[in-house]
């Protein structure tokens, strides 16, 4: 197929090495974190931990899982993710199916939805609205405001549009209702799209930290990502100033690492299975003829 010139062969070796390095660069920091979480205090403070635990122990994990704040935050995150994804997908699938059809006022409605992507009230007005609606300090403040996403709607509409009209017409003649057509024809046939959008929404909820800090007045109501933000980022800011740190602060590093790792684990576990969907989903959603 290709010119087997020396130049190309040399390039090939470098390319292989470079690509493998690029792949590792995206993954080694997490491995470093895992190693730290499993290492002893002395090994961490002696800067001996790279990608393999030194002085193996699981104390950090025991401490993490015995921390009621951490467990509470985890539960809040799971609740908001399940609740939020269900509500979002319900709204988006209904609207996405409808807007993939032609009907009077469809374009006006579509632009009404898309405009939310182009312009927004911004931080303060949103904060005041949520407060005025009495959603502050409830899980609804984390779930409802972002439930509708115009970008996700566009992805779904484009997916539903690729399904042949004839299928729907045949089902109508057989007496199928809108609901049957949606659940028996559209949903199974647009699985990559649905899976992609669900994955985005799930990851979004799981990773979302700012709304927790904004809308929860009490740290005990924080979701996991907000909890982590206070533990990892805010406390580290103080640590950074006195960097050549004492041993006590260093054992904190192991607990922090364990907490970050536990909170990231669901994503690391779910995403390889959904990868083939989202790659297909992105490509079909973005590259249109």
């Amino acid at each position: 197929m290709y010119h087997k010139t020396t130049g190309y062969r040399v390039f090939s070796y470098f390319n292989y090495a470079f690509m493998i390095l690029a792949g590792l660069a995206c993954f080694l920091p997490l491995l470093h974190l895992l190693a730290q979480s499993l290492s002893s205090k002395a090994a961490i403070s002696g800067n001996m931990v790279s990608f393999w635990p030194v002085g193996f122990n699981v104390d950090a994990y025991i401490k993490t899982f015995n921390n009621s704040n951490f467990n509470g935050a985890m539960l809040t995150s799971i609740t908001r993710t399940v609740l939020g994804t269900t509500i979002s997908m319900f709204i988006l699938i209904c609207a996405g199916y409808a807007l993939s059809k032609e009907f009077r006022g469809r374009n006006v409605l579509m632009w009404f939805f898309i405009f939310t992507m182009l312009f927004s009230g911004g931080l303060i007005p949103s904060y005041i609205l949520i407060t005025a609606l009495g959603l502050k300090d409830t899980i609804w403040a984390l779930v409802l405001p972002g439930a509708f996403g115009a970008y996700n709607l566009i992805l779904l509409v484009n997916f539903f549009k690729t399904i042949p009209k004839a299928l729907e017409e045949a089902a109508f003649i057989d007496g199928a209702s809108f609901f049957v057509i949606l659940s028996k024809i559209y949903l199974p046939l647009s699985l990559p799209g649905i899976a992609t959008v669900s994955l985005f929404i799930m990851v979004g909820h799981w990773n979302s930290w700012f709304d927790g800090i904004l809308y929860m007045s009490d740290a005990s109501k924080y979701p996991l990502a907000s909890f982590l933000q206070t533990v990892v980022v805010q406390s580290n800011m103080q640590n950074m100033a006195m960097s050549q740190s004492e041993v006590a602060a260093m054992s904190e590093q192991s607990i922090k690492a364990a907490q970050i790792f536990v909170s990231t684990l669901p994503i690391i576990l779910v995403y390889p299975f959904l990868q083939r969907y989202f790659v297909k989903g992105i490509v079909l959603g973005a590259v249109k003829e």
Binding site: H3, C26, I91, A257
Partner: protein, 294 residues
């Protein structure tokens, strides 16, 4: 079949949510023209016209935040377009499917990590006694570099970490575009004696061009969006001079210091310019690459 009322019914939930949570806050933008006091509300606060907007250009911190936003966002856009393109071309040259798939899986991963997680990793790795400095001091014997506390380096750190997090995901459409190129173009080029490098230059790149144009023009709309999640988690008072962006400034000046009306005005200023830029970029993408949103 022609009855379309069920379609309207299906749109109701989305319509209700958008009215409340997207259009609702837009009413609150009136605060930008007020000396807003929370206890008086929008109906009771004093109207002050454009004073809040004038203040944006009077406060040194605010103009500095706008400048920082532009510098960081533009650097991110440029690097964020070039790196995925180059990586997609290089990855498509890998013929071993196992390695190719593994590399792909690994480079997509950071996109799905929270900025809190990434900030945690970076604070650890880039700290004075972190991994990177450990390596640098061993090899070059220099003093440790304060990546997150040095105003001169902060923007650089922000751009590089953004690329690390997002280049894999950005590659997806380019890889798909390359995979969709008709192999007979390469065969024809090969018969004409084109080297592999020439094939990339005269076949691969031109075939990617429409996609590159679409993505580049659409990214124009992000010119005032330097990434709140990232900067908020990485910055600290030491680097406000170069790292404070519009969104973090709005947060600090309004929610932390109580200047609600002013914060809203800064936000509206940003949204307004962004809206214009997005509309222009969509028009350009439509004109030059025939791109349609839906």
């Amino acid at each position: 079949m022609k009855k379309s009322w069920p379609l309207y019914v299906l749109c109701i939930p989305a319509f209700v949510f958008v009215c409340i949570f997207s259009y609702g806050p837009m009413v609150g933008l009136l605060m930008a023209f007020q000396d807003y006091k929370p206890w008086l509300g929008i109906t009771g606060s004093r109207w002050i016209g454009l004073d809040n907007f004038e203040r944006i250009f009077q406060y040194k911190e605010a103009t500095q935040a706008i400048v920082n936003t532009l510098i960081i966002a533009v650097s991110k856009i440029i690097v964020g377009i070039i790196v995925p393109i180059v990586m997609a071309i290089l990855l498509s040259e890998i013929r071993n499917m196992g390695i190719k798939k593994s590399v792909q899986t690994l480079v997509y991963l950071p996109h799905f990590l929270s900025w809190v997680t990434v900030a945690g990793l970076m604070i650890d790795i880039l700290g004075l006694d972190g991994g990177i400095n450990h390596i640098l001091t061993q090899i070059f014997g220099n003093d440790p570099i304060y990546f997150l506390g040095d105003p001169d380096l902060f923007r650089f750190t922000v751009v590089i970490s953004d690329v690390w997090k997002s280049f894999g995901f950005g590659m997806i459409v380019y890889l798909a575009t390359i995979a969709g190129i008709n192999p007979s173009y390469y065969e024809a080029a090969e018969i004409d004696g084109a080297t592999r490098r020439q094939q990339i230059r005269y076949v691969t790149l031109p075939s990617m061009l429409p996609m590159i144009i679409v993505i580049s023009t659409l990214s124009l709309g992000n010119i005032l969006d330097a990434g709140f999640d990232q900067v908020f988690n990485l910055y600290n008072p030491l680097v406000y001079s170069t790292g404070d962006i519009i969104d973090t400034y709005v947060y600090r000046s309004s929610l932390l210091n109580g200047q609600y009306g002013f914060g809203t005005a800064v936000g509206l200023f940003k949204s307004g310019i962004s809206l214009i830029l997005i509309v222009v970029s969509y028009r350009l993408a439509y004109k030059y690459a025939n791109y349609k949103i839906f």
